[in-house]
Amino acid sequence: MILYAPLVIVTIYSFNDSKSIITWQGFSLRWYFDMFTGPESAKFKVAASNSFIIAIVSATVATTIATLAATAIVRGGAARYRTASLGLLSLPLMVPEIVTAVATLIFFNTIGFSRGLTTIILAHIVFCIPFAYLPIAARMQGIEDTYEQAAMDLYATKRQTFTRILLPLMMPGIISGYLLAFIVSLDDFIITNFVKGAGVETLPTAIFGAVKMGIKPNIMAISTALLLVSVVFVTISYFVAKADNKNK
């Protein structure tokens, strides 16, 4: 599989003992220790914690917004609203990322918002919404509304029906939407690179900055670690969705 070859090779080389990336000197975990103790570790630790803060906040907000939107679009009738909202939702997916990046930078600059963590989070929420929306809406379309009807016949209020019936049923969709939004945020480089202020780094921008100077073994270890996080998250998301299909 062509798709995996480069990733596997980087993973293998990240265990290389050698200081240069050219020669192979036997298996070692030294670059993984270097990740925590090496001379560049402080920089990458800050970048990593920034990345995770941004990903957690944006994924949480984006998933909440997307859940509300999915409820309105799937359970709200009126085709007119549906098409308009879906069009708006697909915007971040259709507009080339670099254009969104430029537009967002100019926007923050115009309203005089100083660039930093907040601007990154705002920008991330926006492009995470569609990724969170898709699995949630797909899930909700699969839930028949007989449960809700039954609840309401038994004099449950709309709010109770939503929180006690619909929300638990939607959970698998929400979880997988959250995980996808989290990864998308964690991975983003282009938009982050534009809207981040000077001095604020996330893992991808820090890696990019380091790679510009040449690929070093510590970068490969960090990349492998990040790669692992993505794979684990996607796998969980996949199994949450799958386990749930079996229940039906």
Binding site: M1, I129, D145
Partner: protein, 309 residues
């Protein structure tokens, strides 16, 4: 996958009264942070540049003029068409096009293979195809760079099996950019094609061969027309992001293989520092993409009624 009955019954109007409030956050976020910024960007592209980045609020066509026309250093020479930027756009279209063809050539057989597997293993295959997509694009591009290096694993391997005598110069070539783009967006090609092949009714091919159609005729006359929407969707999904790509040309292409993404980036982050020009370049890229998507959605609409769905 086939619970279409449930799906039809599940679209209800239970929350009709609340829908405006439920949709409000989405509307606000997307209009404030996507629609309005794009409009402001449009305005910026008509403003005068300020030398260390930023703009002066004076209306001018200078950015577009700089993009299309060459008036000499002092603006007093006869007007010529400026080819520098047009050729960057042309090269990007060309690169993105080749990457699209490359992923079609490899993606189509892959999709076909997956769609003809038994039901259970299909999901696993699709999952395997999507994993690399979720892995950081930067990491994938970096690993491609690592692989293609002059003393990188690929060259070492080719030297070892004695296909070549000296290392190939792959990095910083147009080919490397195409490979990078191809590698970045291949899943986008496979998935829609797979979806349309999966929906395709294979009894149709049986009918065709019962009626003495050759294998080739069955493929071109029966299978291809019915999965065309999927193929076109795949091509668009690869072509559009490739066109505006920044990482692949920047990390794999070097200075000679400048693409639109790098040109725009340089106006804001790099040495050029010309915001109106960057805004104008972004607007031109955005219009190209929107026109492409409009043509595509019109095509899809036309294909739908007679598509046998």
């Amino acid at each position: 996958m086939e619970h279409s009955k449930g799906a039809a019954g599940a679209v209800t109007d239970t929350y009709a009264k609340e829908r405006v409030w439920l949709l409000m956050p989405t509307w606000l976020m997307l209009s404030i942070l996507v629609v309005i910024p794009v409009l402001i960007m449009l305005v910026y592209s008509f403003l005068t540049k300020e030398f260390r980045g930023g703009v002066i609020w004076e209306f001018t066509f200078a950015a577009y003029d700089q993009f299309f026309f060459d008036r000499g250093l002092f603006g007093d020479e006869p007007v010529k068409i400026e080819w520098t930027y047009i050729s960057i756009y042309w090269r990007s279209i060309w690169q993105a096009g080749l990457a699209t063809v490359l992923s079609l050539l490899l993606g189509f057989p892959t999709a076909y293979y997956i769609a003809t597997r038994p039901q259970n293993s299909r999901a696993v295959w699709v999952f395997l195809i999507t994993i690399p997509y979720w892995v950081n694009l930067l990491i994938r591009t970096v690993s491609m760079k690592f692989l293609l290096r002059e003393n990188g694993p690929l060259n070492d391997f080719l030297l070892m099996i004695e296909v070549i005598d000296e290392p190939l110069r792959l990095i910083n070539t147009a080919l490397a950019v195409q490979l990078g783009l191809f590698y970045s967006y291949l899943p986008f090609m496979v998935l829609p094609i797979y979806a349309s092949i999966e929906r395709y009714n294979f009894t149709l091919s049986e009918a065709a061969s019962d009626l003495y159609a050759t294998k080739f005729a069955t493929l071109t006359r029966v299978i291809l027309p019915s999965i065309k929407p999927g193929v076109i969707a795949g091509c668009i999904l690869v072509f559009v992001p490739s066109l505006g790509a920044f990482l692949a040309p920047d990390l794999l292409g070097g200075a000679k293989n400048f693409m639109i993404g790098s040109l725009i980036e340089e106006q804001f982050k790099g040495s050029a520092g010309n915001w109106p020009f960057g805004a104008a370049a972004s607007m031109i890229l955005l219009s190209m993409v929107l026109i492409l998507l409009m043509v595509f959605s019109r095509q899809q609409k036309k294909a739908q009624p007679q598509g046998g769905q």
